[in-house]
């Protein structure tokens, strides 16, 4: 007799996003399956200065954190503004997606997304300059993420040379 109404069981904050890891070893279906079972979250838009301790404090609010891996610049090996948070249970990760995603850490609105699972190598930025791809091309000035984007920095230094 009891019916689960689709209209009422909406839980969109835990849906998987459009992002798919291009380096994932396997097909789309495999990746999506893993995302739907995952206990691991990607966390983005962090300040370069945000510490593992801060991440741990915030994300512990939705459950016990198993592991945090801070994302690193591939060349400098310093934090480059993202991390992975792995929980012991799926439920705890879901609650992070529902209640921590889109709120602030270190005064910045952070974004969480499902991750298919940490593998060695995935802790490095994939931008040409060593950091994240988004920091290669962005035009704005963000003091917590190294200032201007890498491309914009090059242009600026070229301009500076030219105008002097």
């Amino acid at each position: 007799m009891s019916l689960k109404l689709n209209a009422l069981t909406s839980d969109t904050y835990t849906d998987i996003s459009q992002y798919r890891d291009q380096h994932f070893k396997g097909n789309r279906y495999d990746q999506e399956k893993l995302l739907k079972q995952s206990h691991t979250l990607y966390v983005g838009n962090l300040s370069f200065y945000t510490t593992e301790e801060q991440v741990h404090e915030l994300f512990s609010k939705s459950g016990d954190v198993k592991r945090i891996i801070i994302g690193l610049d591939k060349i400098k090996k310093t934090a480059c503004g993202f991390c992975f948070v792995e929980y012991y249970t799926r439920t705890d990760a879901e609650n992070a997606m529902r209640f921590i995603n889109g709120t602030r850490l270190d005064d910045r609105i952070i974004r969480t997304d499902w991750d298919a699972g940490f593998k060695e190598g995935r802790q490095y930025g994939r931008g040409k300059s060593g950091g994240q791809v988004r920091d290669e091309y962005r035009q704005d000035y963000d003091p917590a993420r190294g200032g201007y984007g890498k491309l914009a920095q090059q242009h600026r230094s070229t301009e500076a040379r030219n105008s002097f």
Partner: protein, 795 residues
């Protein structure tokens, strides 16, 4: 995707209504959507939407009757905040189709029986309330509803049943009266009076030992924390005195009165409440949370009084909205803020009060704590001009009343406030709270500020905290969370462990093997014993100290570094902590080094339990030890203890699950063998497999028993320690003729309560042992009272 038949596409100019060819499943989804969303986001009135929907459903009844019945039964159960919208809809359908009305009532009764059988008592309340409002829609005859209520109230005459059982049946009847009291009194006033008088008698007899354990504040002023049935009774009494005039509930059926009163009514079948079953789980009693009254909302509509039925209905509906939408915070906030009739009430105040009521609910909030933080942030975003001010006012009020607030609730307030501030650049008028600087630091107000600053620091960094508070608050600023390295420089050279620590550090840096390091450690003198122990295997606290302290120093950079270090030298650490004393000492070493960084201490303890370097009982003993007495009232201590208990519980559950799975596997295997026929080889293989499974089950059985024994022991240790500490304090106060109610005592006794409340499910299993061994009649009555209150909850 709908499949169009090609022939339909070339209709030419004919304007007849063509029903799009769709899969039946899509029509069912559409019906669901239409019903669930009726009245939402529409430019037409609710009444015309209902009228339209009734027409659509009536047309669909021939083909989709059973689906429509099921959807309507579900919304009755799952959307109680829209109760009167759906009773109106059912009323309209009944007026158009009497048989459908009858079938719906029958379906609802079936659903009611099922929810009661499955211990879904909260949902059952909504179902009964729905049925009672159907009286207002002329679907159900009033006398038959009164008869059902009479059967419910007769449960109060049952003997030898838990009080929470009869409580529930009384609660259901009372909670329907705001909706249907008027109608029932008009038709059957004599019977209703008798009913209410029976209820009154029951309420007078009820035992209320449990109430103190559930109250957020111990003070009666400014708002008494009333037991929920007492409050509801007062509200119904007032409603009766007002001759059942109730003006808050939205009643769409009034607009359709002329249509509905033409409809034929159905009689509810006689409903006997199901008897009490031993495994029944009735809802726990609760206390009504109030923090605002009409004096608090300065302008605008007046807040309904605490004993007005409007207050009950508003709070019910707001709780229901949160229950429906908690997973989607934006939707939840929007639904709360679009509460019908919001212009006549100070809605922001009601919302804030209901949210804090849930956050502070004892034993635990209905949803995870962090949901309420996220929800309040969304509400602030949607009402930036008004809600933040109400929230600030509420925070101020909660601060003012900290002296009498339950410790567990203060914990939640600390966590909420610091997390909230971290989303708003920690902006707060700290100077307004400078009164907390004038009293002892162990008093609730300065303690609260101190803990808030500590948690705020964890979400930011030390200098940030220094910057955000006035300099007068410096005593409350947390210590800088850095490692305290005792072998730091030459001045430490006199310490007994100093020389070996240098050697150990160099060995680790040069990637020495475990054997090499253990050899180095053999050189550490043992302050505990004589020289005639050649083995050096006995517990040597200095050895543990030198090794672990040095290791932690090398790994102090981050959590990951420290975890990695614990992992790398796991073998050595296990060797050093084989004995109980070893386990206790390792915790001591961690604490000494990291005493300014409680967060690091907590994560290291967690890691050491998970990697079995220490066990749960060792952690409990350490927290209650004399060495930690000065930290005993700090929040992080209790977070470590509760986390430890939770890990123990999860461990037991995990092994129990493995055992169940193995048993299931064996059963399946046995079935397979029976069904597989006479093949000899297959039989032999099956037998072998079964034999293996049976062995595995035996091993798991032992593992479960051992884990449960460890769990029971953990609780015994914790309760014993509490009893010792509290008894000591009480005796000391009595002999010295001093008041027992110090801040320490309040904290300690409430922490004991918190153990019971937070882990009641597990503790239930060990009640016998607890009563026989620990909570006996010889115990001081202050301590015994906590145990008795817990028993009275009949969890």
């Amino acid at each position: 995707m709908s499949r169009r038949r090609h022939s339909d596409e070339n209709d030419g100019g004919q304007a007849h209504k063509r029903r799009r060819t769709s899969e039946p499943i899509e029509i069912e989804d559409r019906l669901e959507s239409l019903i669930c969303r009726v009245g939402e986001k529409s430019t037409s009135s609710l009444e015309s939407n209902l009228e339209g929907l009734a027409g659509v459903l009536e047309a669909d009844l021939p083909n989709y009757k059973s689906k429509i019945l099921r959807i309507l039964c579900s919304v009755a159960r799952l959307l109680p905040e829209k109760l009167t919208v759906y009773t109106t809809l059912v009323g309209l359908l009944n007026a158009r189709n009497y048989n459908f009305g009858g079938e719906f009532v029958e379906a609802m009764i079936r659903q009611l029986k099922e929810t009661l059988k499955n211990n879904l008592y909260n949902e059952a309340v909504y179902l009964v309330r729905f049925l009672s409002d159907l009286v207002n829609c002329h679907v159900i005859a009033a006398p038959s509803m009164v008869a059902m209520f009479e059967n419910f109230v007769s449960v109060t005459q049952e003997e030898d049943v838990p009080q929470v059982r009869s409580d529930w049946f009384v609660y259901v009847v009372l909670s329907c009266l705001p909706w249907v009291g008027k109608e029932l009194y008009e038709k059957k006033d004599v019977e209703m009076d008798r009913l209410l008088s029976q209820i009154e008698g029951y309420l007078k007899r009820r035992v209320k030992t449990h109430v103190p354990m559930l109250q957020v504040w111990t003070a009666e002023k400014p708002h008494p924390q009333e037991e929920y049935l007492d409050c509801l009774w007062a509200q119904i009494q007032k409603l009766k005195k007002d001759r059942w005039q109730e003006r808050h509930i939205l009643r769409p059926y009034i607009a359709f009165d002329s249509v509905l009163c033409e409809a034929l009514q159905h009689n509810l079948p006689p409903f006997t409440p199901p008897g009490h079953m031993p495994d029944a789980q009735y809802p726990m009693p609760r206390v009504v949370f109030r923090m605002f009254d009409y004096t608090d909302a300065p302008e605008g509509p007046v807040m309904p009084g605490s004993h007005s039925v409007e207050r009950f209905v508003i709070e019910e509906n707001l709780h229901c909205i949160i229950k429906t939408h908690w997973k989607e915070r934006k939707t939840c906030a929007a639904q709360l803020l679009s509460y019908p009739g919001k212009n006549k009430i100070p809605l922001n105040y009601h919302i804030v009060e209901v949210i804090f009521g849930e956050l502070f609910q004892l034993p635990s909030p209905p949803q995870i704590d962090v949901m309420y933080t996220a929800l309040l942030i969304e509400l602030c975003k949607l009402q930036p001009g008004s809600l933040p001010q109400v929230l600030a006012q509420a925070t101020e009020m909660l601060y003012m009343r900290l002296d009498t607030m339950n410790t567990a609730c203060i914990d939640r307030l600390i966590n909420w406030f610091s997390h909230h501030l971290s989303n708003f650049q920690f902006r707060w008028s700290w100077d307004d709270w400078s009164d907390c600087l004038t009293v002892d630091l162990d008093k609730p107000k300065p303690k609260f500020v101190k803990e808030v600053l500590e948690k705020s620091m964890r979400l930011s960094y030390h200098q940030r905290i220094v910057d955000i508070v006035p300099s007068t608050f410096s005593a409350l600023i947390p210590a800088e969370p850095i490692f305290i390295y005792k072998y730091a420089d030459e001045s430490a050279s006199s310490l007994p462990g100093y020389p070996v620590s240098i050697t150990v550090i160099n060995a680790i840096k040069n990637r020495a093997s475990n054997e090499e390091i253990l050899t180095i450690l053999k050189e550490v003198p043992n302050p505990n014993q004589d020289d005639d122990d050649d083995e050096g295997e006995a517990f040597n606290p200095l050895k543990i100290d030198v090794f672990l302290h040095s290791l932690l120093h090398l790994a102090a950079k981050s959590f990951s570094h420290s975890f990695s270090a614990l992992g790398k030298f796991h073998e050595i650490l296990k060797t050093l902590t084989e004995s109980d004393e070893g386990k206790l000492h390792i915790l001591k070493v961690v604490y000494e080094a990291w005493r300014n960084h409680p967060q690091m201490t907590a994560v290291l303890v967690d890691k050491m339990i998970r990697t079995q370097i220490v066990d749960c009982a060792a952690v409990a003993n350490w927290l209650f030890s004399q060495d930690m007495a000065h930290e005993f009232t700090r929040l992080y201590i209790w977070e470590i203890l509760h986390s430890t208990i939770r890990k123990m519980n999860k461990h037991v559950q995990k092994i129990q699950k493995e055992l169940e799975e193995a048993k299931d596997k064996l059963e399946k295997q046995q079935h397979k063998r029976r069904d597989s026929g006479e093949d000899e080889d297959m039989e032999k293989n099956s037998e072998d497999e079964e034999g293996q499974l049976e062995e595995q089950i035996e091993r798991l059985q032992e593992k479960v028993e051992s884990a449960q024994s460890e769990q029971k022991n953990l609780f015994l240790v914790i309760f014993q320690r509490f009893i010792m500490l509290l008894t000591e304090h009480l005796v000391r106060c009595e002999t010295g003729s001093v008041d027992i109610s110090t801040p320490w005592y309040k904290n300690c006794i409430e922490r004991l309560q918190q153990i019971f409340l937070m882990h009641h499910v597990t503790i239930q299993q060990y009640m016998g042992t607890l009563e026989n061994l620990l909570f006996t009649a010889e115990l001081d009555h202050h301590i015994l009272a906590v145990y008795q209150q817990f028993c009275a909850l009949q969890l």
